[in-house]
């Protein structure tokens, strides 16, 4: 074997050809993947504990080995959490809260996105007089803490007779979703080339025709983003749910709180954890199934195109 001809100067190799070889176990790789692994474990560990505990029976939970996998897998806590755990006086489990949450989330998501997308479109494309003032007011609205507006909101709903009604809560969600969603849609529509809008006007299309025929089909990715943001936010909402509804129409989050925080009897950690996981299933599923679309939509909003 002849000695390798290596010119030791600024990475110049006599035999270099094609892509530069990169060792798998370089210091760089170990650092990057090590850090990622540690962070992943840090985030996944609580979920692991939740899942594991929810599959244990109470005697096993009492042993206190929260990281140990279940010796005997049981779905009893899940069934109980869903259908028979008691919150206050009724013992129907989370299933009722689940239905309530659906009844709240679906219309709220639809209305808030419908309103906000039209808002964003009008602000970005039609540049009417005072559009900037409207937009500024809306954005300021996004920065005011919700707590400030709760009391006047309650009075307002009482006056129009919607307090305690699901319709009232839907209205509240629609209003509070508007600033951020309008911003989202306005920014997206601002990135649509103005000439497209002009062409449509020359073609004789009006406000709604341009919106439905040209803008909405183009904005599908951003609609997906909005649906994900809104449905998770509304599903996870606790504050408005507890304030603007009555106990029989409490959303799942409020019910979950009542289950976990009930002070009577034995603390059934396994049932609590199962209940928590159950109430997180919907947002989790939404992310899971629309992750790709979500990323694409976020990217579409960020760059021109």
């Amino acid at each position: 074997m002849s000695e390798a001809v290596v010119v030791e100067r600024h990475g110049v190799f006599a035999e270099a050809r094609g892509g530069r070889p990169r060792p798998v176990l370089s210091r760089r790789n170990i650092m990057i993947y090590g850090t990622l692994a540690v962070l992943a474990i840090y985030y996944l560990l609580p979920i692991y504990v939740m899942v594991v505990t929810s599959l244990k029976g109470m005697p096993e939970v009492r042993l206190g080995n929260i990281f140990a996998p279940p010796l005997e897998i049981t779905f009893e806590p899940w069934v109980k959490a869903w259908s028979s755990v008691c919150t206050g006086l009724n013992c129907e489990g989370l299933s009722r809260g689940f239905l309530n949450s659906i009844k709240i989330t679906v219309p709220s998501v639809i209305f808030s996105i419908a309103v906000a997308s039209v808002n964003g479109y009008a602000l970005a494309m039609w540049r009417f007089k005072g559009a900037n003032i409207f937009f500024t007011i809306l954005i300021i609205g996004a920065f005011i803490p919700y707590q400030v507006m709760i009391y006047p909101m309650v009075i307002l709903l009482r006056e129009i007779g919607l307090y305690g009604d699901l319709a009232g809560l839907v209205l509240v969600h629609t209003i509070f979703g508007m600033p951020i969603l309008t911003l989202l849609f306005r920014n997206y529509f601002s990135s649509v080339p103005e000439e497209l809008f002009k062409a449509a006007r020359v073609d004789g299309a009006g406000f709604w025709r341009i919106y439905f025929k040209i803008m909405v089909p183009m904005a599908l990715p951003i609609f997906v983003v909005a649906v994900i943001l809104q449905s998770t936010a509304i599903w996870n909402d606790f504050l408005f749910g507890v304030i603007f509804t009555r106990p029989e129409s409490y959303p799942m989050t409020v019910q979950l709180n009542n289950i976990v925080n009930s002070v009577t009897g034995v603390k059934e950690y396994n049932v609590n954890m199962a209940a928590t996981l159950l109430s997180g299933v919907v947002p989790l599923a939404i992310y899971f199934f629309s992750g790709k679309l979500f990323v694409r939509g976020i990217a579409a909003g960020a760059v021109k195109g």
Binding site: P193, L196, K198, R201, D203, A205
Partner: protein, 361 residues
């Protein structure tokens, strides 16, 4: 004859910035008018005003004798082609072509007839079922022209339609637009900053600067008799040589450029009584070279400082009386840097402007 498009005292301000100032323009039926100018001169703004996409601050616009100043774009009888094509991305080519007609509630079979007619003219029949994203730049622009075509309008507006295409496609589509105009005989208003497009396409060119039309004439007139130094400088590539000199009348009009002193007998004056400091302008392609220069009314020696061969022609940079002086010579001429060459010109082909207002003399 009634003009096809008529612009009367048009004024437009963006806030406090005047973009168009008291513009008056008459465009005849079937005329191809090019609005030419560098960016920010107001040419696109004017086109948008004609289209009804921008509201003028003052003044009015007539199309076919009707005051359309307050009319919607779709009510004006115009079709518009944009630089970025502006095709509706989610619709097929057919959808793009039919959108305007469907908005106007044109019957289905009529839409079909017009689309197939336009597709035939523009040779886009095989593309009708495709989405714009599956088309090349040239095909997209053809569809965009088709969108104006199907609407059966009197006036076509083009907003820099070829600027996004590469050089070869641009030349091809330019010819096609010219051919289209010849066969349709519609009024066309075409905005561009490309003087080649302007010279080749236009019946008349309106050169704009700072919201004002500086000269409105035929391409030939603009090239040979520019009204001021800006227009003379703007039109022509490489641009005109300007040499400081003075003009006097003793028996005959004579110009003095440093050492050179020659008669202007064959020059056609706009203002024959002017005397004093002038800009003497002569186009590089009108500068004669070698043997032809020796026989020219004015000839002199200059030194080649830089040589730019362009194939068919070669541009030689030199200087005359302290100012850069360019000559365009045949590509076969063998000239090297440092050579002393004989150059000359015929003063009849020159353009002379006064120093103060830089207007043609």
């Amino acid at each position: 004859m009634q003009p096809s498009v008529s612009i009367k005292d048009l004024k437009l301000d963006f806030g406090n910035v005047p973009v168009l100032r008291n513009l008056n323009l008459d465009i005849g039926k079937g005329e191809f008018l090019v609005l030419l100018g560098s960016s920010g001169c107001g040419k696109s703004t004017l086109l948008n005003c004609i289209a009804g996409l921008l509201e003028p601050t003052d003044g009015s616009i007539y199309i076919n004798g009707q005051n359309v100043t307050w009319a919607e774009p779709s009510q004006r009888g115009i079709g518009m082609v944009f630089q970025s094509y502006a095709l509706y991305p989610q619709m097929t080519v057919e959808g793009n072509l039919s959108f305007g007609l469907a908005n106007a509630r044109v019957p289905k079979d009529e839409i079909k007839r017009r689309i197939s007619h336009a597709a035939e003219i523009l040779q886009i029949e095989p593309l009708l079922k495709r989405k714009p994203s599956a088309l090349s730049g040239g095909q997209r622009q053809r569809v965009a022209i088709g969108r104006a075509l199907v609407r059966d309008v009197d006036v076509f507006l083009f907003d820099e339609p070829l600027s996004n295409l590469d050089a070869k496609l641009r030349a091809d589509l330019r010819v096609e637009i010219k051919r289209l105009h010849q066969s349709l005989q519609n009024t066309m208003i075409y905005v561009t900053h490309d003087q080649v497009e302007a010279m080749t396409l236009a019946d008349r060119i309106a050169i704009m600067k700072g919201g004002v039309v500086m000269q409105l004439s035929s391409p030939d007139e603009i090239y040979n008799r520019p009204v001021n130094k800006y227009v003379a400088d703007f039109i022509g590539s490489p641009s005109m040589n300007f040499i400081k000199g003075s003009l006097r009348h003793d028996g005959e009009a004579r110009v003095k450029l440093g050492q050179l002193d020659f008669s202007l007998n064959d020059y056609s004056f706009t203002r024959s009584d002017f005397e004093g400091e002038v800009w003497f302008g002569i186009r590089p392609e009108h500068v004669l070279f070698a043997d032809a220069a020796s026989n020219a009314p004015v000839s002199f020696e200059v030194k080649a400082e830089l040589v730019e061969p362009m194939g068919g022609l070669t541009l030689i940079w030199s200087s005359l009386e302290g100012t850069p002086f360019r000559l365009l010579v045949d590509g076969q001429a063998k000239v090297r840097v440092g050579d002393t060459i004989i150059a000359g010109f015929d003063p009849a082909r020159a353009s002379i402007f006064d120093m103060q207002e830089e207007l043609r003399i």
